[in-house]
Structures are given as structure tokens and as C-alpha cells.
């Protein structure tokens, strides 16, 4: 059988790279499968703001390269492939790549990020790469001394517009709101208002992009008056949000109506052993810092899960004799008394049964799986199967009854 990783991370943006760092630091065999160079969306912005420790901003590619080096220095493997299919149900998960290879692991952390949203405006598709762009750092050079427009007014739109002023003669931002109202943060808004190269068109949306083989003009529509106007321009940059790259997860893990992956605060998805992190997840703030945070939490939770599962399998499911699993908790007196009673019984029986103690709150998944709702509870296993369960008041007689029927079987 081919080698089995502990963790496969799909996607090497900030979320995936942080998961790689935490995974390999826990000495788990961790691989990031990343289509092409790592870095994600964060590597496509020259002016990376808000990441703590870099008050004057840093470059996206610079920060991402540092994260990738950090992950690799602790042993994370980075494989340049694109994952196209996943098998998530079994204990061993499989990721298939476009080149036809298969990678196997116990855990999958899904961090595929998001792609720019397109608006499907007339001319948008045909003039892609001909003046229509979704990436300022990729294409800004072409627009030196030319005029461009920016569609959108959130953080990314306004910050990228500012970057474009270093190249273009004018940058006109088309805003759907009333004059002065922007969706971006206040600091960026103030900077943009003070920038003489930035012009504004308010209450307007883009209706059409025109040009013969290359962008020549746009048609704008004033949403208050319905009036259409044509404006000459050489480039149209779209920053109107993103869509999660979760197509291949449809029908496999729970997604919300916008296609974002639903997780709890440990980054667990609807499938055990499958986690999600970063922009592709349902969350409140999509930034580099929160992506990295998600990745860290996912890898940490995965490590705990593996330890829990691995330990349980070895000690309980594969044990050669009957096992009593005692679910207790240090703060519940009755459960401590029950455990010491069980210890006495096991001693008396001289090794024909085994006792495994589980701190219920530290092993929530196992407790839940075996329907433990009360502490203390004792679950009896034989050959990896549950044969009985006792909850609440655990008396010597009840336990002995169960054990006798088990041992005499």
C-alpha cells in the first residue's frame, strides 16, 4: 500500500500553510497539495495590510514565501498538484490529483480559498486579459500612463485602486452607493479620498465593456436616474468579492447556500476527520490573519482527534479481552468513586478484564459516539464491539452481573 499521511492539506494559502506549520510541529506527517506556487490570494496583493507585526504593510508574496519556508523548515512537504476528487468517508481519506495520482491520509484539512467573483457583464468574458483584470499586481504594469476603472468599493477594491495609482494616470472607482459611502475600512477610505489620481463615480454600476480586441470604453448606469453614459478607459479591474472553491465538495460535506463550508469552532466539517480553514469556510472576517488562525486551529484539533482515535483503537477496540470503558470526570465525585470500585473489581478478577478510564470532557467524540450522556457511565466492549452499557449509579452488583455474563460466554 502507498504511504499514508497523517494530514493532507488541500491548498497552500495562509490557511493551508499555517495548518502545515502546526501539523508538522506536532510531528505529524503533513503534506500540502497546492496547485502551483504556494501563497494563495494573499500572494496576489503587493500591499498587504493588517497582518500584525507589519504596521507599514508588507508585500503579499514576501509574507507568503516566509510562511511557506516556515512550514517546510518543520518538515511539511509541499506537492505542486491540483486536487480534483476526494474520498472522505472511510477511515483513510483519498485525494486524487489532476495528474491521476492518489494521496492517502487519516485527516484532510480543506483550505482551497476563493477565486474572484465575475459579474458576467457584457464584454467581461471576451475582454479578459485584454484590459479586463481581477489582479492588480499581475497586470498593473500594462496600464502605465493609461486610464483604468475599478469596480467595487470594499477593502480589496480600494486598496488595489491605490496600488494602481502608482502605474495608471487615473483610477476611477465606480461605486454603487451615495457619494462618500464606501464599504471599506475608514483608514483606506481617507487615503483614497486624499489621492489626487483617484476619481469617483457614485450611484453607478457597470453595464457593458466595449472594445475591439482590447478594452476601449465602458457603459455606466446611474442607478438613481437610470441614465446610461459611456466613458473611455483602457482597463477594468474587478474587486467585487470572491466565490469559494468548493465545487468538488458538493454533496460530500455540508456547505451553506453560497457554497462556503460549514464548520464548528474547531474547524470540523460534517465528516469526522475532515476539517476546513480559511476563506472557503463560513466565517465573519476573511483576512490573512483569520485564515492563518483557522489553519492553526484545524491542525491542532486534528492532532487531538488522531490521538483520541488512535488511543481508543489500540486500547479498546483491538484488546484481546473484554474491556470496561469508564467515562468519568475529575469534577464529578460519584464518577471518581465508581472508578475506584471498578479498579477493585478488575484486581479481583486477576486480569481477565481490562479497565480503560476516559476523562469524558477530553474525549467528547468517543463519548458521543457511544451515546454516553451521563457521568459516570461504563461501556463494555468485547472484540471491538459494544456489548453493554451502564449509566448513573454504578454498583458492584450491576458490574459483576455484566462481567459474569461476558466472561462465561
Amino acid at each position: 500500500m502507498s504511504e499514508v499521511y497523517d494530514i493532507i492539506v488541500v491548498g497552500g494559502g495562509p490557511a493551508g500553510l499555517a495548518a502545515g506549520i502546526y501539523g508538522s510541529r506536532s510531528r505529524l506527517k503533513t503534506v500540502i497539495i497546492q496547485k502551483g506556487r504556494p501563497g494563495g490570494q494573499a500572494a496576489t496583493t503587493e500591499e498587504l495590510e493588517n497582518y500584525p507585526g507589519f504596521p507599514r504593510g508588507t508585500t503579499g508574496p514576501g509574507l507568503m514565501e516566509a510562511m511557506a519556508n516556515h512550514a517546510e523548515s518543520f518538515g511539511t512537504e509541499i506537492i505542486k498538484e491540483e486536487v480534483v476528487d476526494l474520498e472522505l468517508d472511510g477511515e483513510i481519506k483519498v485525494a486524487r490529483t489532476k495528474s491521476g495520482k492518489e494521496y492517502k491520509s487519516k485527516i484532510i484539512i480543506f483550505a482551497p480559498g476563493a477565486a474572484p467573483r465575475t459579474l458576467n457583464i457584457k464584454g467581461e468574458q471576451e475582454l479578459r486579459g485584454k484590459g479586463v483584470s481581477y489582479c492588480a499586481t499581475c497586470d498593473a504594469d500594462f496600464f502605465e500612463e493609461l486610464d483604468v476603472i475599478v469596480i467595487g468599493n470594499g477593502d480589496a477594491a480600494v486598496e488595489e485602486a491605490m496600488y494602481l495609482t502608482k502605474f495608471a494616470e487615473t483610477v476611477t472607482i465606480i461605486v454603487i452607493h451615495d457619494e462618500g459611502i464606501l464599504d471599506c475600512n475608514k483608514v483606506s477610505a481617507e487615503k483614497a479620498f486624499a489621492n489626487p489620481k483617484i476619481k469617483w463615480v457614485w450611484n453607478s454600476v457597470l453595464e457593458e465593456i466595449k472594445g475591439d480586441g482590447i478594452v476601449e470604453s465602458v457603459v455606466l448606469k446611474n442607478i438613481k436616474t437610470g441614465e446610461l453614459s459611456e466613458m473611455e478607459t483602457n482597463g477594468v479591474f474587478f474587486f467585487v468579492g470572491t466565490v469559494p472553491k468548493t465545487e468538488m465538495l458538493k454533496g460530500k460535506v455540508d456547505l451553506n447556500e453560497t457554497g462556503h463550508i460549514i464548520t464548528n469552532d474547531r474547524m470540523e466539517t460534517s465528516i469526522p476527520g475532515v476539517y476546513a480553514a480559511g476563506d472557503a469556510r463560513v466565517k465573519y472576517l476573511r483576512q490573512v490573519i483569520t485564515a492563518a488562525s483557522d489553519g492553526a486551529i484545524a491542525a491542532f484539533a486534528a492532532e487531538k482527534y488522531l490521538a483520541e482515535e488512535g488511543g481508543f483503537k489500540e486500547q479498546v477496540l483491538n484488546a484481546p479481552k473484554p474491556v470496561m470503558v469508564a467515562f468519568w470526570a475529575p469534577q464529578i465525585e460519584a464518577s471518581i468513586a465508581a472508578v475506584s470500585e471498578l479498579e477493585k473489581i478488575v484486581d479481583q478478577l486477576g486480569g481477565s478484564v481490562k479497565l480503560v478510564k476516559m476523562d469524558t470532557y477530553r474525549n467528547e467524540k468517543v463519548a458521543k459516539r457511544y451515546g454516553v450522556e451521563e457521568i459516570p457511565s461504563v461501556v463494555f466492549f468485547n472484540n471491538g464491539e459494544v456489548v453493554a452499557k451502564v449509566s448513573g449509579s454504578i454498583s458492584r452488583d450491576v458490574i459483576m452481573n455484566q462481567l459474569n455474563s461476558l466472561i462465561n460466554k
Binding site: 496547485k35 502551483g36 506556487r37 501563497g39 500572494a43 496576489t44 503587493e46 508574496p61 505542486k80 491540483e82 489532476k98 479578459r128 486579459g129 485584454k130 484590459g131 479586463v132 483584470s133 481581477y134 489582479c135 499586481t137 499581475c138 497586470d139 498593473a140 504594469d141 500594462f142 502605465e144 480586441g213 482590447i214 478594452v215 483602457n234 482597463g235
Partner: protein
């Protein structure tokens, strides 16, 4: 792959015989750099069947715009001095190879 620029483009690409593939890229374009190693592999695989060039579009802006390339990455296919096909944005290497096979 042959590195071309505004001085050599005419001779290496437009006046060349047979199929020429040009990878328009720039040092600041991350998606271009994601793609480039795979393009180099394809170039090696099809060596002799076509000519493979790359052009730093940022350093050769006017030339790129004259070729109606205003966005990266773009891969252009030329024959007899004319662009006969083009791939731009969201290019996967499988698309490049498929296009190449079709044109060879």
C-alpha cells in the same frame, strides 16, 4: 525555452517557421510563476515539434499591447507571423497541452 524581448520578438516569433508558443509573464505575476515550471515541462516534452518562447511582458509592455496582450498569464500561439490561438487567465497546464496538440 527561449527568452525573447522587443528586439528579438520579430525574428524569433513572427519570422519563425512552424508553430511558436509564447508564454507572456512578469516577475510580479504570481499565477504566471505558478504556471511557468509546468510550461517548461511541456516545452521539453514537445521539443522539436514547436518552438517555445517566454516574454517578460512588464519589461516589454508596448510589444505586449501591440500583441493585444493586456493581462497575465497569457499564452499565445503563432504561425507564419500571426497569432492563431491564445489562452489567457485561469490557464491550466492541461489546457496548454491540449491546445498545443491540436495545433501541431
Amino acid at each position: 525555452m527561449i527568452e525573447v524581448d522587443k528586439k528579438t520578438f520579430e525574428d524569433e516569433v513572427l519570422k519563425a517557421e512552424g508553430l511558436v508558443m509564447v508564454d507572456f509573464w512578469s516577475p510580479k505575476c504570481e499565477p504566471c510563476k505558478e504556471l511557468m515550471p509546468f510550461v517548461a515541462e511541456v516545452a521539453e516534452k514537445y521539443e522539436g515539434k514547436a518552438k517555445f518562447c517566454k516574454l517578460d511582458a512588464a519589461a516589454n509592455k508596448r510589444l505586449s499591447i501591440s500583441q493585444k496582450v493586456m493581462g497575465l498569464p497569457t499564452i499565445g500561439f503563432y504561425k507564419n507571423g500571426e497569432k492563431i490561438a491564445e489562452l489567457t487567465k485561469d490557464i491550466s497546464i492541461e489546457d496548454v497541452e491540449a491546445k498545443l496538440k491540436e495545433l501541431i
